[in-house]
């Protein structure tokens, strides 16, 4: 099957799982064994790896005329924070299983865009080795599958009435650099859990998770944060909401969980996730509503067309009905998003060059248009 650049194909996914996923046991078995041996995460998923800051950028193709052509479309970063404690311990395997559906469905509501996925996990600070794993933003099945198999879920949680996703949220808020943000648009952020969220971050745990470079990297990314005055989880999420459309997707319906996350996110951003298998559907509906590519009525039809049971569909629709619908479409530069084929002078430019700018480039033997305004066109 010919590979369509930018759209994750099922063939790519199958090839990637054959290459990276063990035939028996959890998909993360090798990484878990290695982590126990070394006490370290693979740098690809280590939040302290690769300079801490995760980047979502436009993919370009170089051109002979030294310009850069947008290869796929406007990059949309989509970060997940999956709970891997207790009964959610096999969420990496589930995420792997639903990856093709996630890619297909999300792509269907982001026409002309380049969805870039970072599927991370979290546990509890009392877990022995790792609190979170944070991968890079990727688009291809090969890389996403590989990163998922490098995760090290500890499957603990300690039964202490909370988990610690706030370290992943901290990273998403302060240690992400995206093109979308540079032009005033936002990416997406989904935290998935069945437990309440802890309402603070601890300096020692930050050091443990992100290492010695943390405060320098925060500064490099535009955030002056001191270990003596750390933001609480609510403040972290308020920063996260400035750069992403962020939601908590709640598995099960524990009231203390709803209350805890509502306090941090606002009730309208706490959305029911009837099962992790429906994660692609719920994410797609949220993104589609936020982008304006779905309405509540068409979202209902989308769920029906994808064979979501009527009870689950109603629960999902009821809980997404109050999200800020059309929030991305309402942002000022939404209609000016770069698209596939647009040309940039430099990869770091903010905007593509204007089509008129191109046509005004002097060409050997090309006659100047008569009557054109502005500068003289010398022949």
């Amino acid at each position: 099957m010919a590979r369509n650049k930018g759209v994750m194909s099922r063939a790519d996914y199958t090839a990637a799982t054959s290459a990276h996923v063990p035939q028996n046991g959890p998909s993360t078995a090798r990484a878990e064994k290695e982590a126990r041996r070394t006490g370290k995460l693979d740098p690809l998923v280590d939040p302290a790896g690769y300079g801490l800051i995760r980047r979502s950028l436009i993919r370009f193709n170089p051109r002979p005329d030294k310009l850069w052509e947008v290869a796929v479309g406007f990059p949309v970063p989509i970060e997940d924070h999956l709970d891997t404690t207790g009964s959610m311990g096999d969420n990496v395997d589930r995420a792997l299983k639903i990856l093709p559906d996630t890619a297909d469905m999300v792509h269907s509501v982001l026409p002309g865009c380049d969805p870039q996925h970072a599927i991370g996990i979290f546990g509890d600070t009392e877990d022995r080795f790792f609190v979170i794993c944070r991968p890079q933003f990727e688009m291809d099945a090969e890389k996403i599958v590989k990163q998922l198999t490098l995760m090290v879920p500890e499957r603990g949680g300690q039964g202490n009435g909370k988990e610690d996703p706030q370290y992943g949220l901290f990273a998403a808020a302060y240690l992400t650099a995206s093109y979308a943000n540079r032009i005033g648009l936002k990416g997406y952020d989904f935290a998935i859990s069945d437990e309440p969220v802890c309402n603070y971050v601890d300096a020692r745990q930050l050091q443990r998770v992100f290492g010695d470079e943390l405060y320098d990297k925060l500064k490099e990314n535009g955030h002056e944060i001191s270990a003596r005055k750390l933001p609480d989880t609510k403040e972290i999420v308020s920063v996260l909401l400035k750069r992403t459309h962020a939601f908590f997707l709640q598995v099960d319906d524990r009231r203390d969980t709803t209350a805890s996350w509502s306090e941090v996110y606002g009730r309208e951003r706490v959305v029911a996730l009837p099962s992790v298998e429906l994660l692609p559907h719920v994410k797609t509906v949220i993104i589609g509503l936020t982008e304006g590519t779905l309405s509540l009525t068409s979202a209902k039809k989308f769920l029906r067309d994808h064979e979501v049971g009527s009870g689950d569909a109603r629960r999902i629709i009821d809980s997404v009905a109050n999200i800020p619908i059309g929030a991305q479409a309402a942002l000022p530069n939404f209609k000016k998003r770069p698209k596939k084929g647009d040309l940039f002078k430099s990869k770091t430019d903010l905007w593509p060059i204007d089509a008129n700018e191109l046509s005004e480039e002097p060409e050997a033997g090309k006659k100047a248009k008569k009557g054109s305004r502005g500068s003289n066109n010398w022949l």
Binding site: T297, G326, A330
Partner: protein, 275 residues
């Protein structure tokens, strides 16, 4: 001016209202001549509110139909109905108009009321017409509002706006319509008590203002307070306006148990007095 939807064309008439999120125009559906209201988002930012509003109107219509079917099976009298559907607008269609810069448009109609301009907001009767309702007129208005709030709240919908600008009256046939769902929210189990109480209070305050009273001072026109037997009615309104009552079903029941002692049931023409 004509607006075209995927299915229909609408001839747009004069603007009748506006708020931060949307504008409202009279319109006529081409071909069948049906008179409707065209609600258009002020800008793309307002699309979400109109989408949610359209969805909620659909949800309420389905719920009203279900209840009507249950009632019909129970009562077995074709002349009797619950009539919830008359208490909110019918969504004719909802679409995004590319010719209007991608703004969402909802086409709305009133069931049983052919001429939308006959529907008047309570605020207009008070402020523009300078009129006040007599007590008996206020009773059928308040009764219908409580019935509708019991319906919306038990359907898990918080309507968000229940003030004098968002409750419309048709005074000839006695229709009362909760009109504005642009701030409505769906609740997955029940609407929280404080929100229910706030809606009841807000709507009652509108009715008190319609009578010519003031819910904050408890003052009413002289002819209202002069008659001793109406004092419990006035007190009940003030109680409902205070925000203490969080159950519209109970409020509706209590309201009619009092109203039935004051006036006979039966059609009473809407009666308005000069302020």
């Amino acid at each position: 001016m004509t607006i075209t939807s995927p299915a229909n064309k609408y001839e747009v008439g004069k603007q009748v209202a506006a708020n931060a999120a949307s504008r409202l125009y009279l319109c006529t559906q081409e071909g069948i001549g049906r008179k409707c209201l065209l609600q258009i988002a002020s800008d793309v930012e307002g699309n979400g509110a109109l989408d949610r509003s359209a969805f909620i109107l659909g949800r309420l219509a389905s719920r009203a139909e279900e209840l009507e079917a249950e009632y019909a099976a129970h009562v077995r009298d074709p002349n009797k109905s619950l009539g919830y559907a008359y208490g909110f607008t019918q969504l004719v269609e909802s679409f995004v108009s590319e010719e209007q810069d991608g703004r969402r448009i909802n086409i709305l109609a009133f069931r049983n009321v052919d001429e939308p301009s006959k529907m008047v907001p309570i605020a207009n009767i008070i402020d523009k017409d300078g009129l006040r309702a007599d007590l008996r007129t206020s009773a059928w208005i308040m009764g219908k509002i409580l019935k509708m709030l019991a319906f919306t709240q038990s359907s898990g919908i918080a309507i968000g706006q229940a003030d004098a600008t968002s409750i419309l009256l048709e005074t000839d046939e006695h229709y009362v319509v909760l009109f504005d769902f642009s701030e409505a929210k769906i609740h997955d189990d029940t609407v929280p008590r404080e929100i229910r109480a706030k809606e009841i209070a807000q709507a009652t305050q509108a009715v008190i203002a319609l009578i010519g009273g003031d819910h904050e001072t408890g003052m009413f026109p002289d002819d209202v307070v002069a008659i001793e037997k109406f004092k419990p009615y006035v007190e009940l309104l003030l109680d409902l306006a205070s925000g203490d009552q969080g159950d519209a079903h109970n409020a509706h029941r209590e309201f009619y148990s009092l109203v039935d002692t004051l006036w006979e049931r039966g059609f009473y023409p809407a009666t308005f007095l000069k302020r």
